[in-house]
Structures are given as C-alpha cells and as structure tokens.
C-alpha cells in the first residue's frame, strides 16, 4: 500500500489533520502563484518578508496550498489595515514539492537569498523537521501551522529547538481533550482504549488519554491494540465488549477505524466511540456507514460551523476571497500562523530573529481563529480543541474543550 504508507511515514499526523472531505480536491488552485523572490525595487526596510515553505505540489499538495491560502488572506488583511508598524508584509511562497530534501533547500533559499525574517514551515511534520535545524543555525524563527509531531519543538533528549514554534496543538494533547470530554460531557466511568499499535501518533494519544482518565478518577477497563492493515477486529472487540465499557477511545487512522466502528456496532457495542483528527476523512463515512457513526466524536483543530464570532467572520472573509470555499483546518491554521507572527513582531518592535524568537516564546492569551493560546515552555501552544460529533454521517460542531 504504497500510497498510504507514504502518508503514514512522511506525515503520519498531518494526514489526519485534513478537515473536510472536499477540501482535498478543492484547494489545488492558486499553486502557481509563487511570489517572485527577486523583489528588485523594494528595499528591505519597506517590507517585512515572511517566507512560506509549503507543499504546493506532490502527494500532500492540498495541505500545503491550504495553509498558503489561509496565510495569504491574513497577509492581505494585515496589509489593508496598515501593516505592522507601517510596514507591509511580503509573503514569499516557495514550493518544497512535498519532499524532505527540497524542504531543506527551500528553507536555505528563503533565508540566504530572500532574507526573510521568519518562516512558515511545511505542512507535514516530516518536512518540517528537515527545516528545524536550518532555522536554528540561522536564528530565523519558523512556525509550523499543522506540524503536530512532538519532536519538532522538543528533541528526544528533552532540549528545545529554540527557533521552532507551532500554531497547532501537539498529538498527545488530543488524547487529553478526549479524556476530559468523556468524563465531563459523557459521564464516562469505565473506558476502554483500542489503539493502533503501529503508529506513534495513536500510541501518544492513547497514553495521554489514559493518564488523564485516571487522573479524573475514571477506570480503564480494557486496553487493546491492533496493527494498521488489519481487517478482523471482531475478536478484540468481543473482548472489549465483555469488559463492559461505557466509552471507547480509538486513536488511529480512518482506514482501520472505519472497520472498527462498523464491526463494533455489529457486535452490539452501542456506547460512544471517540477518536481524533486521524478519523477525519470522507472514507471513514464510507467504510463505517453513516448509521454506525452515530454517537461517535472526534477532536479537531477547528470547525467552520463553530458559532463564535471570530470564526464566523473568518469564514465569511475566506469565502469572499476564495470563491465560496468553506475554510478547512489547514486554512485556519495558516491564517492563524501569520497572526501569531504579526503579534510577535509587533511586540518585539524589531525584525531581528532573536527578538522575534523571544516574543514568540512569550506569547500569552493570543486570540486567533483556532482558539486562544499561550505558548508553553516547550514552544507548544496551550489552546482549546474542538469536539465534533457525527450526525447522519456528517460532522457537527459539538463543543470546545479547554486543556
């Protein structure tokens, strides 16, 4: 299964983060609009250059171009409102072809030739990691819009990548959110976990979920695992059923989760099931069937249906700019990343890399479309997650859960 393996390897996590189905098909346009880097006439003092090292072609082009659209809209709004301290932002988009090596060389190009003051990193965690070292060495802050792997900001040995930041929450956080939601909203007491044992993403979520559930006084009555590409889950589900859970947490990707949900319902497991952004694909609805998906929930970065005013005005502005396309999570995260940078540059009062880095690290209670966030000591945002519920096979906004 070359295609999906590639997804899992390259960008395990962000595969998950595609919000809406049609989005994958709908956001291929506008890729060709790479800004010309040789902005000859303008001197550096006129504009603030922000690089955007994105997947504009290749297998995950839809993620990169979605972030690009969001960022463009944010830049346009900021410039129309007078820019940052009177200086306009110039967004320099480059195409990393969804490749690790190309991501690294494009990062070098943005820093050395275009002399950007900060960069948006590629959409996928894998491609972003390829640019982190370059950012650190050149002291240019990078902001990952959708790179959710924990090791982008914190290395395995616990040291921080000084110049790496992100706008999205990290994977394990979704497990915490799901546990809070299960206990507070669904009154779950005895929960079961059924996790994909082949992915770090799912294992991280499962561990965070378990920890939070136990902290909140819930009991984990069943803990089972499967391996990606399995098709027979009935045996394990029969075991889970026998442990009588009132809630089942299933972190994993849609291909297996679709079958798990269907087989669970067939075996008479009628309790709420919950997962994370890895479920988010139209294929899930196809594989599981709309009926089996009733009473299931996922956590995600944002919902276009969220009634909050900030979100609705963003949705309206985005639809106006991009011919009535409803913005997905990548669009929103790209948009927020620019505002995250704008806020930091304003507070730093300078375009010096060190000062922007310090300001980014000090960000506190910044309100953006995907929620209010504060950057923690590991350079990860502490922010709200959105819980969506499947109703008749469609995602409906349910609630927001604070960390």
């Amino acid at each position: 299964m070359a295609e999906s393996n590639k997804f899992k390897k390259v960008g395990s996590v962000f595969l998950a983060t595609s919000l809406l189905a049609g989005v994958l098909a709908g956001c291929g346009t506008g890729d060709g609009k790479e800004s010309n880097s040789s902005s000859g006439g303008k001197s550096d003092s006129d504009t603030i250059k922000i690089g955007a090292n994105l997947e504009l072609s290749g297998p995950v082009a839809s993620y990169g171009s979605s972030i690009g659209q969001g960022a463009e809209l944010a830049v346009k709004e900021i410039n129309d409102a007078g820019g940052i301290d009177g200086k306009k932002i110039e967004l320099i988009k480059v195409d990393n072809k969804s490749e690790n090596a190309e991501s690294a060389s494009q990062a070098m190009k943005l820093i050395t030739q275009d002399k950007v003051v900060a960069m948006l990193s590629p959409a996928t965690s894998g491609n972003t990691i390829a640019t982190v070292q370059i950012a650190n060495e050149n002291k240019i802050p990078i902001v990952g819009a959708a790179a959710t792997a924990p090791n982008i900001t914190v290395n395995e040995d616990g040291s921080i990548n000084e110049y790496a930041f992100r706008t999205c929450f990290i994977d394990p956080f979704q497990g915490t959110v799901a546990a809070n939601f299960a206990v507070d909203e669904l009154d779950a007491k005895n929960v079961a976990i059924f996790a994909d044992n082949a992915s770090d993403y799912a294992k991280g979520l499962a561990a965070a979920f378990k920890e939070t559930i136990e902290e909140k006084g819930g009991k984990v009555v069943g803990e089972e695992a499967y391996v990606a590409k399995d098709t027979d889950f009935k045996t394990t589900l029969t075991r889970i059923k026998a442990s009588n859970p009132d809630f089942v947490f299933i972190p994993g990707y849609y291909e297996e989760v679709g079958l798990i949900i269907k087989q669970a319902r067939e075996l008479g497991i009628d309790v709420p099931l919950m997962g994370a952004d890895g479920w988010d694909s139209p294929k899930l609805v196809e594989l599981a069937g709309a009926k089996a998906l009733d009473n299931t929930y996922i956590t995600n970065h944002y919902s276009a249906e969220d009634p909050e005013e900030k979100i609705q005005s963003f949705v309206a502005a985005f639809k106006k700019e991009f011919s009535d396309k409803s913005p997905d999570a990548f669009n929103a995260l790209g948009y927020d990343s620019i505002y995250f940078l704008k806020d930091a540059i304003e507070r730093a009062g300078s375009t010096d890399g060190d000062k922007i880095q310090q300001a980014l690290a000090d960000t506190k209670d910044l309100t953006v479309v995907t929620g209010k966030f504060t950057v923690d000591k590991n350079h990860n945002p502490v922010k709200t997650a959105t819980v969506l519920e499947y109703v008749d096979g469609k995602q409906k906004f349910n609630s927001k859960v604070n960390p």
Partner: protein, 312 residues
C-alpha cells in the same frame, strides 16, 4: 461469612462465569467465520499443488479480484448477494484459467523454483495493475442486512457469520461431490496421482489442470465476496495476508489433500481468534506462522498427510 453473603458470592461468581461462556461462544463463532474464509482459499492452493506441485502465490490475488467483482456487482450494478457471488465465481474461474494458460503452462516442465517465482511475479502484476486502474484506496462493501444480529440463547450471532458458514459448507460439499463423483473429478485425481500415466489412459491433462485452476479460482472468488461482506472492506492488497494464512492452513492440513485444507483453515481461524481472545491480539499473525514452523519441523506432511518418501 454469613449464609446470605455466601449465596450472593456464588451467584455473582456464576454470573461472571456466564458472561465468560457467552463471550467464548461468540469468539468461537468469530473463529469459525474467519476459518471458513481461510478454508475456501486454502482449497484452491491445495488443489493446484496437488495437481502440478505449484504453490500458486497469485491465488490470494484471485481472491482480491473476487472481492472487487462482488463489490462492483453489488454497488454499481445493483445485484443481490447470490448473483454477485456467482458472477465473481464465474469471472474468477475464467481469470484463473487465463493465469494458468498464460503464465504457468509453458513452465510445466521447467524447475519448480521457476514456476514459483513466476507465481510471485503474477501476484505483484495483478496487485499493481489493479492499483494502476483504480488506485490503492479501499472500498466499503454495502450492508446486506438491516438488522444485523440474531440472538440465540443469549449469544448474539451476526447474520453475516451464519451466511458465510452456510455458503462455505455448500461450496465445500459441492467440491467434494465434483472431486469424488464426476468424471472431471476422477480425471483430477488421476492426474494428481500420476500425470503421465493419466495421459496414457487417454485423459486430457491440460484440460484437467485448467479445470483445477477454474474450480480453485472460483472458490477464491467466492471467498473474496464473503470476505468483503464480512469485513466490509476490499482493497488491492487484501489478498496478501489471507493468501499467506490460507497457505499455512493448506500446509497444516496436508498440502494437496482437500479435506486437510478445510480442517486446516477452520483450525487456523479458531486458533487465531482464541489467541486474540486471550488478549494477545498483536500476536495473532505470529501465531499462524509459528504453527507453520512447528508443522514444518514436526509433521511436514500435515495433519492428514501420509508420510511418503520423495520419489527419486
């Protein structure tokens, strides 16, 4: 401990035990359903091996093709389950014969390793041709039944499990009938016993081998459709693991022996299910292959095999 507490203690214990029994019956049903799919695929492996001593690794892909034919028949052409099953069986039979005629026939007198490697090549060719034409994404099978379960004595049994079992038993009985009672069956047994002697007796060996491929492939096609119905997903690589497991089942029962494939398949399905049921779900696949290794070490001729010496 007072008398009433004592009684309570026992009733609780009984209840716990009761739940356990129900759980195990359900697991047994899961295992038999899985086992009958393995058995149907294993039959094709074993028949082909019995007649031309070839491990047909493309067999799992015929199973996959059957799954897709069933899917398109039910979803695109609105056919019912039985017509879709029959269509998949017929088309897979034709497909199996084509594979045999194109890829294996000319290798009949070459070394067995040449044929084996060709089989692996054919397997990859089929998989990636399917990927080329429709992509690697999976398809979800439609639901057959609105009300999915029936409850018998407190055990929930899914209707698809019963359907799978019924279809498998009918097909296996049919196969036994063909092999034991018909002329072509007699010819198949004769060719598998000694192809040259059979030819001398006026049996058309080529046609007999083709018939074997046709029957084996039809069974794989049927397995593909019921797999799709039971597990609700088909994809271009779905044949690899079930194919390998069915191979294990065939070896377990004694490769080349038809009842051996049935028993081997069922046994493997039940063993795998019980391994997961005991909480070792990650060891399930390993269990199948550990069985293969043990069989090869201690009883290479399989459960039903006779210990014959290699002919020189």
């Amino acid at each position: 401990m007072g008398a009433s507490e004592f009684a309570l203690f026992f009733s609780v214990k009984e209840a716990v035990k009761g739940v356990k029994v129900m759980e195990w019956i359900q697991q047994l049903i899961n295992g038999v359903s899985l086992g009958s799919i393995y058995a149907l695929i294993a039959l094709g492996y074993t028949m082909v091996y019995g007649i031309i001593k070839l491990i047909n690794f493309a067999h799992g892909d015929v199973f996959m093709i059957g799954g897709f034919i069933g899917f398109y028949a039910m979803v695109r052409w609105d056919m019912g389950f039985i017509p879709a099953l029959l269509l998949a069986m017929i088309l897979c039979a034709v497909f199996g014969v084509i594979i045999e005629r194109v890829a294996y026939k000319r290798l009949r007198n070459s070394t067995r390793i040449a044929a084996l490697i060709t089989a692996i090549g054919v397997s990859l060719l089929i998989e990636y041709t399917v990927v080329f034409f429709r992509g690697a994404q999976p398809e979800g099978y439609p639901d057959l039944f609105v009300e999915k379960n029936i409850t018998i004595l407190g055990v929930q049994i899914s209707k698809t499990s019963i359907l799978i079992l019924a279809v498998s038993i009918v097909l296996m009985l049919l196969l036994q009938f063909i092999v034991q009672k018909t002329k072509i069956g007699k010819a198949m047994r004769a060719v598998s016993h000694d192809a040259d002697a059979a030819r001398l007796m006026g049996i058309n060996v080529d046609n007999t081998i083709s018939a074997t491929f046709a029957i084996g492939s039809a069974l794989a096609g049927a397995a593909g459709v019921i797999f799709g119905v039971y597990y609700t997903k088909v994809d271009p690589f779905m044949g690899i693991i079930p194919g390998l497991k069915a191979f294990v089942a065939a070896v377990l029962g004694g490769i080349g022996i038809i009842p051996g494939a049935m028993v081997g398949g069922m046994l493997l399905g039940v063993v795998e299910t019980f391994v997961s049921a005991l909480g070792f779900s990650l060891w399930r696949d390993a269990a199948a292959f550990i069985i293969l290794i043990l069989i090869l070490i201690f009883r290479p001729e399989g459960i039903f095999g006779k210990n014959t010496r290699e002919k020189v």
